[in-house]
Symmetry: C2
Subunit: 150 residues, 2 copies
Amino acid sequence: MSAVPGTDEAMLETGSTTDIVGYRLRRAQLSVFQRFLAAFEALDLRPAEYSALALIGDNPGRKQTEIAEILGIKRANFVALINGLEGRGLTERRAAREDRRANALYLTTDGARFLEKARAVQDDFEADCITRLGGPKARDTLLDLLGRLC
Amino acid sequence: MSAVPGTDEAMLETGSTTDIVGYRLRRAQLSVFQRFLAAFEALDLRPAEYSALALIGDNPGRKQTEIAEILGIKRANFVALINGLEGRGLTERRAAREDRRANALYLTTDGARFLEKARAVQDDFEADCITRLGGPKARDTLLDLLGRLC
């Protein structure tokens, strides 16, 4: 059991609430996302937007539904996300070659330039995460354990 | 770099997008929360609601602002959460002893009985997480690494 000081005299008993995997995962994820948002403030980019840009950059011309599925983002949410990136002139939709009713996603020239900057920020951000964890081995251990939870 | 099969012929290049700490954390957290929701479906309880009930149960009479702060939930969101639990007859607010303008939180008798059931579900859920991770040592390693990210 853990205890933490409250805002008045007495300690709070927190162990049965906070010493569980789901709770700790959520707190760590929120903490990392908060730092991500701070690091990407100048680029005005949220984590899911970064992931979408990077995935489209590595796989130009893939269907919108495919990109959404890989990222585990629901169709409606992904449409809103892509509308946002398209509105900023970073991505564009074209009819897919093998299925004219489907949208294929591409980076624009501006989008490719923007992604280059974002990748540099992400590399620094990742290096900071690895330092916090205690090195590349600790990072590998973490990714392995996280994978077992999926 | 990693690759995964797309919905048509070609593989997608995903490594530069998905082999990063923040992305993996988010996917693992979503996966665990999805299983949590399924496990708690009969009790109609979301993770943050479970945390609030457990923390109030262990610390009856603490201020609403204190409970929200420990859980890292914004004030407005926490008010909505507590309104929900109160509407279900599980918690009640009373004026705090040392500050009549502040709300102190308590479980109702029904709330205490409900929490007992929820704790049993959570214990099973945690045991499943530990099994997936590979045992209590792996769980301890994960919690330690997650703590370093906060």
